[in-house]
Symmetry: C2
Subunit: 166 residues, 2 copies
């Protein structure tokens, strides 16, 4: 199964395509979509949509895991993150990719074993899960890897439960 993890943001959207084959996880591609900070929100959202459509078309993931947002922090950032998330969900739907959303706590729990794991602990576990030589860079790409791993863990678990119940 091939999954894309996406951590949306207007300035930087991290993405990571991860495949599970024979119990091993492999990072197919990861990176960050950046948009021009001086541009209008609308044209930045167009850039983001185009770049996400390209990544989805290039790698053909079966499912997507997107960070579920909470608006407890900065209202200005929250607004632009929400807008970026809308365009990411749109791009996934247009590509026919089913989306699951996860909170940061769920991701940490799944990847590092406890919901209060530090960023460094999560990055360390991402590196080990994907058998990489060093943590993915930049940090938004590592977060996207963690989302994809979380989704693969959870969907593997759901599959095992279904099989056990048959």
């Amino acid at each position: 199964m091939r999954v894309i993890g996406i951590d949306p943001g207007l300035t930087r959207t991290g993405y990571a395509v991860v495949e599970r084959a024979g119990g091993r996880l492999q990072a197919i591609d990861y990176g960050v979509v950046r948009t021009a900070a001086h541009a209008e929100a609308g044209s930045r959202l167009m850039e983001l949509r185009g770049a996400m459509a390209d990544v989805l078309a290039r790698h053909g993931p079966e499912e997507a895991a997107v960070e579920r947002l909470f608006f407890n922090n900065n209202a200005r950032t929250a607004m632009s993150v929400g807008q970026a998330a809308g365009v990411v969900l749109l791009a996934a739907a247009e590509a026919g990719v089913a989306v699951e959303t996860y909170t940061p706590t769920e991701v940490k729990q799944s990847v590092a074993g406890h919901g209060a794991a530090t960023k460094a602990q999560v990055q360390n576990m991402v590196t080990r899960h994907l058998e990489l030589g060093a943590p993915p860079r930049p940090a938004d790409a590592a977060d996207a890897c963690a989302l994809a791993i979380c989704h693969l863990h959870r969907s593997g678990l759901r599959g095992a439960i279904r099989r056990a119940l048959v």
Copy 2:
């Protein structure tokens, strides 16, 4: 000048196309785009994008006035409003329509004369500005009318200032 006012939301997005000609304002069209409450966010955002692209193509507004969002209230609503706003800004950019955003206070100030005007006062003034027999319905369409009127007032003022300075 022809302006579209847009009040974004995932469940209901109000829009209103208003034209100023010879000092009078005329409502060309107004209404609400609704998306299926039971559907996934991604497919609802696709519906919204398609409907907004249709309205923009049909009426060819020169500029758009979109409500500027604040996230002080319900976090769940805020998330979906932010996502809808992202798709609205995207649709406007794709149609080549320049966007200005206004806070609810700015709209009330411009349409009803003071920033603490009630909804009924704003609707009453919208009805008078557009020379309608009754307030536009539903309420989201009336809010969109108020956004368009606010933008026309302000751009008229900006034009007058520019002319006075030449």
